[in-house]
Amino acid sequence: MTWHPTSRPEISRRRWLQTATVASLTTLLKGGSTARGAADPDVLAEQAARVAVVQKCAPSVVAIFGPGGGGGGSGVLITPDGFALTNFHVTSGAGDFMKCGLNNGELYDAVIVGIDPTGDVALIKLFGREDFPVATLGDSDQLAVGETCYAMGNPFLLATDFSPTVTYGIISGLHRYQGPAGTFLEYTDCIQVDASINPGNSGGPLFSAAGDLVGINGRGSFEKRGRVNSGAGYAISINQIKHFLDHLRGGLIVDHATLGAAVATKDDGSMVVTNILDSSEAFRRGLRVDDEIASFAGRPIRSVNQFKNILGIYPKGWKLPLVYRREGRKQEIFVRLRGLHRQSEMTLQPPERPAEEPKPGDKDQDKGRKPGAPKPPRPAGRGKPKPPEQYAKFLVEKPGFANFHFNQLEQERVLRGLAAWGDFKTPTGAWKLTAHAVAADLPAVFTLADELCGLILADGQQAFAQETNAEAKQGDEPPATGGLLLALHQLRWLLAKGPQAFSELYYAGSEPLDGNGPLVDVLATERFTARTRFLFDKQTGELIGFDTERDEDVDPCEVRFEGIAEFQGRKFPKLLIVRHADREYGRFELRAANWGDA
């Protein structure tokens, strides 16, 4: 049979598209009458669906280039004001300012926002529109092996008009683990596809059969066939990225997490703790060597790879549930995860394109190499290309941050939630909070001044004090609270002195409240050695509690609020719930407040 590659399919497709709008499923079931001789109606239906998905998704796909137009990779827009996801190994090669092309043929300027070097994710922001076409974020946990998927992007930098190249295939595997390849980037719980992923696809979207964004394509198993697709491409799951999205929007260099304990699979298939840091929170919550890990973050654990997989999708500092088994008894604990890397490791730029040069014969090196397009080395120091003038103000460099400008924006947004409580800044004197300790049924009076905080319980039968200056020892006062007086001092400092009064203050992304609650925004502060994380409701913007750590590796004093009432013209929580080391210390019901007005 002769096949006319140019004319025939075009005609049949057009005919199909005309009829598709009116054709119902039942007419299709009659079988092949509309396009007999051309193709099976099922095939045409599938093709039409495919075309529709591509048309729906393609406008959100970004072709990313370095400032000089060289190098490049792919990305995908996720908000109408221009935030787009890509790979860290794309932006690290392209520099802080990029040029981004969309399939309308237009080129836009873009700036780096936040980076996740371990997870190989970066967030950038395109300028110039408030109505960018966006991809719909899907749920990658709902994918099944065998499902159709589409990879879009700019492989081999083919698209001179910026319209993405589309490859499609099936989901070949789920929850795959691809360990570090020469660098510290690690693909955990990732999606394996047989759609072609080639150099230049890096950072581009993986869409589900329905056209939802389910992953960011970033790696492939490349072996001796050269740096081209060899049937196994890997995408970072969108569900992992969702955990980091607020961090990234805050201009942070985000880190992944570790439990602070080593695990191994025993002969009987169980997963046990083989080593644990006694400075880790897991240890303080009671986890010990030989305990069997049953589940983590709500997912059952059956292998080390699986544990690494689940651990790898969470940011440093998140508190998550862990169930362990000891002598047949199950115990659930909540553990705040430690950072995978030291601060210094995260601040330093990783070596440029570390896995770029294949080492002949070194298979492990080759395996899982990143399909980034060849890029010019990033100019260092004074050789940096000048940013476009009108956008230069959108980049604020600060050690520890990818772009502090975006952190300032998030700080402003979160701090607006405090404004509703009223003006605490005008008063100059000490706070006096008259409260009632609920369980103990005792009166409690807190006095919070600039350099000294005190608590008097039961009309003077018990008294506690905490100095709050540079020389003072930041103690656990009252004992077994984790430092309640120090903690309340931080709250007063934020309300009365303002954000500038802290030695450090930054937006720290979001986290699930107390390990299993809704996501809350986190504002982190430092004053002397005390670190505080103020927690804000994402919906209402209201401050709902805070945790203060006196020092590193000690359990914080956790204060949660319930109910808001007006005290002397200012709003304040009616009930303060104080917890420390997984135990509730007490509840204080506020009866009256004096804010130190002159």
Partner: protein, 382 residues
């Protein structure tokens, strides 16, 4: 296989909108389904078709195993794939260096690990049959294997790149049969041992660790065993192919029943043999005694191709087809890589003069030889 048919029946029931309850009824009453039709009517709707394919993939994946064995040396990976062919734990895989151990580790779909031992092998078919001590395993029925026509849509299941190690399912690729042909391929400098019919696929199915995986139809019917990584002997490109089960079935069944007499003794037969040796050109090289023995010509046979171009004893071979030659071993490798009819360009040094010469490669490659008759590496140049 009854359980297969049962699944098919269940899936069909779902497609046609029968209730879950009915599915359960069907599941406990297999006899009622004994006259179920062989062919599944293609489903018109997208969603059931997808879930049906997912069901097929899940069912096939359960019958594919990960094999871990010898290797780990440079360029030798220590893993491959296999598939179960009996409920008692017989499994089929490729005959490869991974099996060069007393026992290999076989990991099932559910993460259970077993010691696998070789029951039998037929190197000419690239075939080995292993046995693990287990029972009631999900397996393929060899008698139900099919050979799909060119153009048929297929799935390939294997543990390529060792992506799965425990209870994770193996990787699945999709593609079509692009050709049914005879294999003319080679592995490194050697011809492949198997040169029978193969199913060529348009997906990149033959990767490290893929060998011993399965090729199935979209309905999950067994069609072939994914072969080892080989290059096409003509084009030098990597091949994606599977050996049809029809070619392997008798040998597998005979090995399992204990009635198998191998055409070649797996312990004696080499995997394959070099295509061209220096002697084919009339060249006798100096004995290969150190790591990098310089590629000096020890003698030139009279009336040989080398003699025709006036090569002489004590000439040092510096280049073969523009490739710098650093040792006798490297020269042998380069010669072995040649194709019949190629032009062989040599540059030799003779008393500080560089002399380029051109030879024609013989039209026929040498026949694979049994290990017993194959000359030792340093003794074929007398």
């Amino acid at each position: 296989m009854p359980s297969d048919r049962l699944w098919d029946a269940c899936v069909r029931a779902a497609i046609w909108g029968l209730s879950l309850v009915l599915m359960c009824l069907v599941a406990v009453a297999p006899a009622q389904q004994s006259n179920a039709p062989e062919e599944v009517t293609p489903s018109p709707a997208e969603a059931p078709a997808q879930s049906r394919q997912q069901r097929v993939i899940e069912q096939v994946s359960r019958r594919v195993v990960k094999i871990f064995g010898a290797g780990r040396l440079k360029n030798l990976y220590a893993y491959s794939s296999g598939f179960l062919v009996s409920p008692q734990g017989h499994l089929v895989t490729i005959w490869s260096h991974v099996l060069d151990e007393q026992e290999v580790t076989v990991v099932l779909h559910d993460g259970r690990r077993f010691a696998g031992r070789i029951v039998g092998a037929e190197p000419q078919l690239d075939l080995a049959v292993l046995k693990i001590d287990a029972e009631d395993l999900p397996c393929f029925e060899l008698d139900e294997a099919v050979t799909p026509p060119v153009g048929a849509r297929v799935l390939s299941f294997s543990n390529m790149f060792k992506v799965a190690t425990g209870d994770e399912p193996v990787s699945v690729l999709h593609g079509v049969i692009s050709a049914r042909t005879r294999l003319t391929a080679r592995r490194g400098v050697f011809d492949s041992a198997y040169n029978g019919p193969v199913l060529v696929v348009d997906a990149i199915t033959n990767n490290p660790g893929s060998g011993g995986g399965v090729l199935t139809t979209r309905d999950g019917q067994l069609a072939g065993m994914v072969g080892k990584e080989l290059r096409n002997a003509q084009s030098n490109t990597w091949m994606n192919y599977a050996i049809p089960i029809a070619e392997l079935k008798t040998a597998i069944q005979d090995i399992i029943s204990g009635t198998f007499t191998p055409k070649s003794n797996p312990l004696e037969a080499p995997l394959s043999s070099p295509r061209f040796l220096p002697i084919d050109f009339g060249l006798v090289l100096v004995p290969d005694v150190i790591q990098r023995t310089p590629a000096f010509i020890d003698a030139v046979l009279p009336d040989s191709r080398a003699a025709d171009v006036q090569l002489k004893a004590n000439d040092l071979v510096l280049f073969v087809n523009d490739q710098l030659i650093q040792s006798v071993r490297m020269l042998r490798e380069e010669l072995a890589r040649l194709e019949p009819g190629d032009t062989l360009k040599l540059v030799v040094r003779r008393e500080n003069i560089l002399i380029p010469v051109e030879l024609t490669v013989p039209e026929t490659a040498r026949k694979p030889r049994k290990r017993g008759t194959e000359p030792e590496a340093s003794s074929d140049d007398p």
